[in-house]
């Protein structure tokens, strides 16, 4: 605040308070002299009159108390221009104090989970509740509130992991983000080549395809695609290259979808959440997500009814 506005506000406030006190005292001492009849002289509806009784004295007291309150308020709190007041209170400090307190409360909750492995968090009801909340607030916008994804956003409940499904890789996917790129192959393969490769890819997951085209496509696939998708088309989690044999499709599994993926390429991006959420929340979200997916060894017990987990 510049010096002018500072003094402008101080002058306004002081002038108002002084003006009100003057008005109060001036009207209180009003000389009325002898009044013949105790009415204001107004008449409504033929015979309604207003009495002109004096106000109770305590009313004046209330006005004066509010003036005193004003003086105290201005002494303790900011109000006179840029003066801070005796208490040094500002709304910024209050927000900071509230945030601090909130952080302290959360710290007490998160500290318990910090040293526990993800596998343990998957069975902890409180961790699951917190992880679910983190997921709903941050992840569900793309992956859906049921975590089953959408076109271009992977389904997290099917046990198929583009970058690997161990706790460490899932935590890394959330914390650091992922960027999966499939280059466009239109220039290399040409229309015919795309048709052939797409038909071959269909056969990998056991779908109906034109046998002749697929046979021709196999050679092209071996020449161009196996670097990422592997000789059997099983993909490579290190690169995020999808498994083409499991009939799980991020961008759709029809012939048209596959041709579009080959022709134009695909580019999928998962943002890095570490700086947004902090590692405590990232781990809780990872634990919830992992609890939704079936695992090879615990597929039958994977239902997330984590009630009987035996945690204290």
């Amino acid at each position: 605040m510049s010096a002018f506005w500072n003094w402008y506000i101080i002058a306004l406030v002081v002038a108002n308070v002084v003006g009100i006190v003057w008005l109060l005292l001036a009207t209180a001492r009003r000389k009325r002299g002898v009044v013949e009849q105790a009415t204001t002289g107004h008449i409504w509806d033929e015979d309604l009159q207003e009495l002109n009784n004096p106000l109770p004295l305590w009313w004046l007291g209330l006005f004066l108390i509010s003036v005193v309150f004003t003086a105290c308020y201005l002494a303790f709190y900011p109000g006179l221009g840029s003066t801070v007041g005796a208490l040094g209170w500002t709304s910024n400090k209050e927000v900071a104090a509230d945030l601090d307190e909130n952080r302290r409360k959360l710290e007490a909750v998160f500290a318990r989970f910090r040293d526990q492995p993800i596998e343990q968090l998957e069975r902890d009801p409180q961790a699951q509740t917190l992880g679910h909340n983190v997921f709903v607030n941050n992840c569900a916008a793309c992956h859906g509130s049921d975590a089953r994804g959408a076109k271009g956003y992977p389904n997290l409940t099917d046990g198929d992991w583009l970058y690997g499904g161990t706790p460490d890789t899932v935590v890394a996917s959330i914390a650091k983000g992922r960027h999966g790129t499939m280059p466009p192959w239109a220039a290399v393969l040409g229309d015919q080549g795309i048709e052939e490769v797409a038909n071959y890819v269909l056969t990998l997951s056991g779908q109906n395809a034109d046998a002749a085209l697929a046979a021709a496509g196999k050679a092209r696939f071996t020449a161009t695609c196996i670097a990422c998708h592997g000789p059997e088309g099983k993909g490579n989690p290190l690169l995020g290259a999808p498994n083409l044999t499991d009939n799980i499709w991020l961008y759709g599994g029809t012939l048209d979808d596959i041709k579009a993926s080959i022709r134009n390429g695909r580019s999928g991006s998962m943002p890095a959440w570490e700086n947004v959420l902090g590692m405590d929340r990232v781990r809780l979200a990872a634990a919830w997500v992992l609890a939704q997916a079936p695992r090879a060894e615990t597929a039958t017990a994977a239902a997330p009814a984590a009630g009987e987990a035996g945690q204290p």
């Binding site: 009003r30 009325r32 002898v34 569900a140 509130s145 089953r148 499709w249």
Partner: protein, 461 residues
């Protein structure tokens, strides 16, 4: 136009100190009625927070948890509607009772009247009867005056503090509050509100008293608009009483040319607002009927008929019959009965289970590898009961639409549970948008609730 009393104001101030009112103690029919109302109302106030129900405080308005407990009922924010309903009932009751018998509320039930009465009792116990109190106030300060006034203040402050404590005890569990108060470990806000309400009680009932009714209360200002000529009001029978004058008990008033009023001013001395009822209906009158009791007492002593001051209507004073049942009271009463009836019915039939289905706001639909169309939702289930419930979700109106991974959901007592839900429709079954009905049913079949939701699928399969 009725001429107003002429008052020569020589005062040169806009403000005037208010003369202190010393209401005289009174016994009689209406005083007993008011004492009864006082014991019932204050009893409710001071005792209710201490009652227990199902292991919790019976009446507790838990603002941080946003739950109001009233004995067996738990009110949620979703039930706020009923509070509005209750306020409408309260408002209409004011209309009904005012039209019927004037300011019944003011005279018998208003907290201002009730607490003032308690403070007056304390004042009488410490400072004596009306004359003694006037004399004590006029006397110079001495040990006796200090002792009497000091005792009164001590009792007032104690009672006011207890009132503030009880009030806060409706909002924060009173047993915890008592423990904290005993350990001097009250939180800042609890202490503030106890002191605030204690101070308000002390100031209003100890000092402001009738000033609240005369200068602060809005009801006092607009109640006269609800009166009609058949409203029961307290009034002095001028035709019978005037001309007023003192006389011996044995004297014949007719021979002396006097009416029945012996001008003893008992009615003025008992008045808690310091008015003379014989001047007619006045805005200050809170209809406490103390003057009726006082006058009846004098009439009994004089062997005159009671009722020189009494409840009557404007029409009755003019010689017309009393009309308690009339269009105004019948319509108000009928509306009131209807509102109370629906209120009770609604409270009894409140849904103990609430189901909300929120559609995901991302992709409209997704296609499974078998071509089935899936939509995802968040389901919020509110269990308003005090026991855990198990519920099962089902699509009520379209058996082809299936819930993916359907399983029973456990709802903890008195909590909101949020679960993801995936609905799946076979390829081509739904085209475009379809409204479906989702049902939640408790496994004991005692609670069921249906909510509609939208399902989206491509227009062409």
């Amino acid at each position: 136009m009725k001429p107003l009393p002429k008052i020569a104001l020589v005062d040169d101030s806009l403000y005037a100190a208010q003369a202190k009112v010393y209401p005289r103690e009174i016994e009689g029919r209406f005083a007993r009625l008011r004492t009864l109302a006082m014991f019932v109302l204050l009893g409710v106030f001071y005792v209710f927070p201490w009652l227990r129900w199902d292991g919790r405080q019976a009446v507790l308005f838990d603002l941080p948890a946003r739950k109001f407990y009233v004995f067996g009922l738990t009110f949620w924010p979703q039930d706020f509607f009923w509070l509005a309903w209750l306020l409408i009932i309260a408002g209409l009751s004011l209309f009904f009772f005012t039209a019927l018998a004037g300011r019944l509320w003011c005279g018998y039930a208003c907290p201002q009247t009730v607490w003032t009465e308690v403070f007056l009792w304390i004042e009488r116990a410490c400072e004596g009867r009306r004359n003694q109190r006037i004399k004590l106030d006029a006397a110079p300060w001495n040990a006796e005056k200090l002792r009497r006034k000091g005792t009164k203040q001590l009792l007032w402050v104690g009672f006011a503090a207890w009132t503030g404590f009880t009030f806060v005890g409706f909002f924060t569990p009173i047993t915890d509050l008592a423990r904290e108060a005993a350990n001097f470990s009250l939180s800042g806000w609890e202490a503030f509100w106890i002191v605030f309400y204690g101070f308000a009680t002390y100031g209003n009932a100890g000092f402001l008293r009738e000033q609240v009714c005369k200068y602060m209360c809005p009801y006092a200002r607009f109640q006269s608009a609800m009166f009609d000529k058949d409203t029961l009001v307290i009034s002095y029978d001028a035709a019978r009483g005037d001309p007023r004058g003192a006389r011996k008990r044995s004297a014949d008033p007719k021979a002396l040319g006097l009416g029945d009023c012996v001008d003893c001013e008992a009615c003025v001395q008992v008045c808690p607002t310091g008015i003379d009822i014989r001047n007619g209906l006045q805005i200050e009158c809170i209809a406490c009927a103390a003057c009726i009791d006082a006058c009846d007492d004098v009439m009994d002593k004089m062997d005159y008929a009671r009722g020189l001051i009494g409840y009557t209507t404007e029409n009755r004073r003019a010689g017309k019959p009393l009309h308690v049942l009339r269009w105004r009271t019948l319509i108000y009463g009928g509306l009131l009965a209807l509102l109370i009836g629906t209120f009770v019915w609604g409270i009894v039939h409140r849904a103990p289970l609430i189901l909300e289905v929120l559609r995901d706001r991302n992709a409209l639909y997704r296609r499974g590898s078998d071509g089935a169309i899936e939509n995802s939702y968040t389901v919020k289930l509110v269990n308003k009961t005090e026991v855990a419930q198990r519920v099962r979700l089902a699509v009520a109106d379209d058996s082809s639409v299936q819930i993916v991974d359907a399983r029973d959901i456990t709802l903890p007592a008195g909590q909101v549970t949020s679960v993801p839900l995936t609905l799946s429709a076979p390829a081509g079954h739904i085209q475009g948008k379809q409204t479906i009905k989702l049902q939640a049913r408790s496994d004991d079949d005692r609670m069921a609730v249906v909510q509609s939701a939208q399902f989206f699928a491509p227009k062409e399969p």
